[in-house]
Symmetry: D3
Subunit: 292 residues, 6 copies
């Protein structure tokens, strides 16, 4: 698979040192962007200094920002800040996922003009980072506090990801409002998911009951995928699609209920992976063909 290989061999992710360098480079970018914005907009300078510029690391900045966003009168910002900072500090893989998510927004969203814009303003990005911490707490069997974080993220960002759900790196949750991801769902790397998407279960029974989303998948706004079905690598799920069936790799599903359209050809160029290209255009033409 040339796509994966080319990605795997990128210098930034070659080894741990590379990841640290990557994190440091992105953090330096963010601080420089924030300084530039603080100079041009004095009314925002206080916010930029407190949230970004005054911090010595990306982990501290995100922990501060999430602590202030998610706190309430009964869950204090100091407690949340401590919780986030301790978790991010102790787990480099969390931080490298954060960096990959920042890059995903920066590369894929044409409206994203800087890393700091994503860090400060993208509720999908922020909800995902909070989920990464909640998931880590869940794995450590600290379920009550994982649920409390989950609840705060659902209140504040209207993003509802069960703390048990496993989510890969380089994931873009675009717009994000109304996203629901269930307990046994799995989302691969380099996936892009628009708002109002549901990765839901199918009933009262417990057990493995939620979708499994392959690497590089693109899921359009308002799509609903229900049940323990597999969405293959590089598949595209059209906006508003209701999927109750398995979708093969490199295939497009559209409509309510979903029909499969388009071929199964794997792109030879990395940028053509749907989760990274965000290319709805081709799927529109595929669909148009289908409709006619």
């Amino acid at each position: 698979m040339p796509v994966q290989e080319s990605h795997a061999s990128s210098p930034a992710t070659a080894d741990n040192g590379g990841e640290n360098q990557d994190e440091a480079w992105v953090w330096a970018q963010i601080k420089a962007e924030a300084r530039r914005d603080a100079e041009s907009e004095p009314a925002l300078a206080s916010y930029l200094y407190s949230t970004v510029i005054s911090h010595s690391s990306l982990a501290r900045s995100i922990s501060f920002h999430l602590g202030n966003k998610l706190c309430s009168s009964t869950l204090l910002s100091t407690l949340l800040y401590d919780l986030f900072l301790n978790t991010f500090s102790s787990d480099p893989s969390l931080r490298s996922a954060t960096v990959a998510d920042l890059r995903a927004a920066r590369c894929r969203d044409p409206a994203c003009m800087s890393f700091s814009q994503c860090l400060l303003n993208y509720k999908g990005f922020l909800a995902l980072q909070a989920h990464r911490v909640a998931h880590k707490l869940w794995v450590q069997n600290r379920k009550p506090i994982a649920f409390a974080l989950h609840s705060r993220v659902s209140d504040v960002f209207s993003v509802d990801i069960h703390p048990a759900a496993r989510i890969g790196k380089g994931v873009l949750l675009d717009h994000a409002t109304g996203l629901v991801i269930g307990e046994t769902a799995v989302v691969g790397n380099n996936v892009s998911i628009l708002h109002h998407v549901t990765l839901g279960g199918t009933g009262k029974a417990g057990g493995d009951r939620h979708p499994k989303i392959g690497d590089g998948v693109l899921i359009g706004a308002g799509a609903t995928i229900l049940g323990n079905v597999r969405i293959g690598e590089g598949a595209k799920i059209g906006s508003g699609t209701v999927v109750l069936i398995e979708v093969p790799p490199w295939t497009t599903a559209v409509g309510n209920p979903a029909r499969l359209v388009g071929g199964k050809e794997q792109p030879t160029v990395h940028e053509d992976v749907p989760g990274e290209s965000m290319d709805h255009t081709s799927f529109i033409s595929q669909w148009s063909d289908y409709i006619i």
Copy 2:
């Protein structure tokens, strides 16, 4: 109707004393759960004590929790706490509806591990309790304050239930983000409604213009039901379905626009009522049949 009868004859709802006993039992469970979690997770203990353990009744705990969740800089928590507490204290039927809603989440949602998890974290549950109070104020012709509560619930939980809407007991609003229920809508008992569901009107004219949802109905994620149409007892509305027509009892509606599928057989076992079983599986196979 054996289903309804068996439900009506459950000891907990046989008389007022039974209801009080039921409330006391659930409240004792909640306190015990919270104490257990406070011991295992010191970082959450403060939150659990302030919100649950320090209170002498379920009504006080919910009033405190909602007061703190829904307050703003211009609507103080003390004012809201007073409002909730006075309303819950003076109306036992409100409290028994709360208990039935707690039971609904605990029984139907496989991700719900305890009553306290629902009380603390489920925005659908919390929004519904706030609505019950707002509805009571509406009925007492205290419309401005009912609207103010409605607005706070819509801001904080992204759940938008008009204070005039009448909603039964034992209702599960699962995930809940984006739910919209209009002014003249009626929702029966033991109904389960997923997120992004709309029970909407059809235009500018006033009057009775919203759906009427029968007992035991299950409405999937993203379904839109418009107009003064009746959704019969035990019906299932598939995810993403757009319903503009009456749906007979024990029938499934799927698709955009909705088609009716499946038979009209009433289940002989209480647990098979769709609103209680949360059984999307059968509806999936029904739909698959339909598609093919």
Copy 3:
């Protein structure tokens, strides 16, 4: 076009003086409504006085209300209040758009009982006013603070309008939760948009990539319109419709993917414009015809 003409010649918008008179009249109505409610509901009087009655102008009242709604621990209410007040004070066209939006809610939403109810409680109205300010800042090339406002509106109201999007006057965002409007979208005058609507792009490429919505259009709940497509004047987009194609004027689009139904007759009476009539009824019958 008699519809537009009759609208243009309404005395309130004939000249600047008329607009000022219109603003003054609506503001007087709002204060009177708030005083009446404060008298009937002492528990709400403090809120009504601080948010409405104590202010000397509509601009001050909205700036105060938005400042308190959108503030956070790192973006203080005083800063936001100043920002809103300065922007509203310096631009009469902003204030006349606000008045037109208030009138739109009052006339078109049968659940809207007063102007003050809209001003205080309608998240769609409030999100739109905050967007108008963010858009003005964007046009002044103050992008970082425009994004910060955008982010707060998305957190607090679950309404996500890119600050670059251009939105006309007399627009009703009904219920509003989950609304997403992209960077290059344009929305005309007298449009009504329900909740969960997406005016989205189609991929990773930048440039002009979002829908253009004509005057008087009605977009139903959960509709998704993707790409740089034109929705003609007076068109109706049904609930849950997924639109990837141009929709001609005075035409109805329904279904996933969208089909065009209904004729192209322009109404002779102003009130029959879909965006103002909110008339889903006719479109329901059109659709029913289509289905059969």
Copy 4:
């Protein structure tokens, strides 16, 4: 003692019914004053409604006001409101002491223009009411929460009254900043104490070690009284006086260290009791005589 008798036979304190009538009358005055001020000063109306006018009783108004004044991020206003309200509601003698304190400020302080001014603004009055509740909790052996209240009062009002100290009715703590009253101090009825006054102990030993202040005493600003000494009924302690000795009834003590001046004549008219007359004038002349 004609003074005491005339006071005891006042209709308001003749029996419980009288006290209730007295409380009701003062509360009606306060509400009328607040309404008048709200009308004349819209900027203050919100505060007056939330703190006074919206409440149904004096106990609720004070509990709300103290809850909001004394709350912190870790001691929530709802908790404090509940604590104050429960204590005031269950103990009519607390409420009659409050009413007597309001009357004391109104009658004795020439700068006090209304009851509501005292209720809203006088830190001495508010600190004393919080102390009355803390003392009641202390007597019920709820020492940790009594200390927590004590600490908040000391932070917020700079008034430091040990929760064990016993304080009579009709007490005026004028200006109040810096007042310190120790654990075993006792203060009689109708006493007036200015700011910076210390009723302190004398060392490391425990036991009964603080002053006992008789009825009707007046203690000037900055006076320090140390040790288990008795200040007799109707005594005057001059400003800045340091008292380490017993002061007989109807006597004046001045200077550092204190000298006794003036005669021991008991006034025949109630208004001439020093604690009620606030008459520093005579003590000035007494002192002048002393100095010369």
Copy 5:
């Protein structure tokens, strides 16, 4: 009086233009100081930007700072900010008094290293500016809101200045905790008052009953001045002094009760005025002479 004359002819106060220039110069200094500190101390930069650097004028900066310092859950920062800003904006004499007070702290307090340090941190300075606004409201017969400000200043800063008290320009309230100034007190220009000072009344009678402090007076820590007595120009009141008598100009009063010591020689050099020199040294030697 050469001292006063030389002061009156200072270029900064010669005319209104001079005052404006003076204000602009001091404000430029403050911004430069704050920028320098923000660069050297990133942890404080957010605070410095929000409170100083982001503002376009000294009046806005002080109004923002006081609004945030004095706000409470029932008196919002936005309301107070508006009140302060409107008052400062409409009255240049208030602003020139503020500038004179800043200069007084900068020149007289050896611990004051910059104007911004005084603006940000000196409770005496801040309390005095809030009093100036409260006094202006009092004069406009807006007594309830003047009292509300008075109460907040007394709670937050432990400085208790009756809103009716008249206070001159160039006044330094050093340390300030515990200062009490009564209703009919008058304080001249270029006065310095240490902490714990009382300018009090003498009893229950209303009318003109508080001290009149002449220009250039220095009042030491803990001094108590009672009654309608005149403290002459250039007098010194020693720490802990209890003054019940008139003190002639250029005279020192020490002890409890006060004795007059030192001569009546008026200084020929402006800097030797006690209120400006803060010279306790000479008074110490005067006192030492007195004691011996």
Copy 6:
């Protein structure tokens, strides 16, 4: 000096390991006390868990408590928490001073019933710990942030200690309201200072101008010590005393102005050191002798 020696050889301060053990022991006591109080008083449990029980060290608990006490809308609790925690964590001598201060309150104040009572409620203790951090920042030449802390402590606790002042270990600031300690003041070990005490300067000149307080000194309420004078080891300064002169060791100063009374005998028993005995009794008798 046997007193000092016996103190120096106490096991707790013999070496660093001993100090760590001492800190651990006191922290274990505090947690046990807080747990006991949380069980007996559910209304306080949330506060006790958040402030004490949930923390893993005394440094974290104090940093959390001070961060929440001293924060404001422009100086966030998270920022202050970080600042306190970093400073306490990096400097064991700060922590051992904290432990000595806790012991001082526990041993010398008969009203202090537990370590946790002091940690939670004693404003003198809390102000002193905040000062220790501010002083450390001052020494590191981080003056602006040291002043910001100083200002917050002065606002919140009415305790005004210049960040440059050097204060020893085992210091009790009893009641503390109104305490003022100037820039060049030095306070030794095992000193006890009551409220309203001033260690002040004498004028406008800079340089070394504040008192030097020896080890074991006791300073009574309202005492004022001015100028660069030395108060010798083991001296007692009576309440309300105004001291402008050097006070020899083991001597008592009383009155305004101060006279020296009592002998110069050094106690042979450690507990008889005035700063530790808090023994005002002997000084009272000394004074009584003096008066007569």
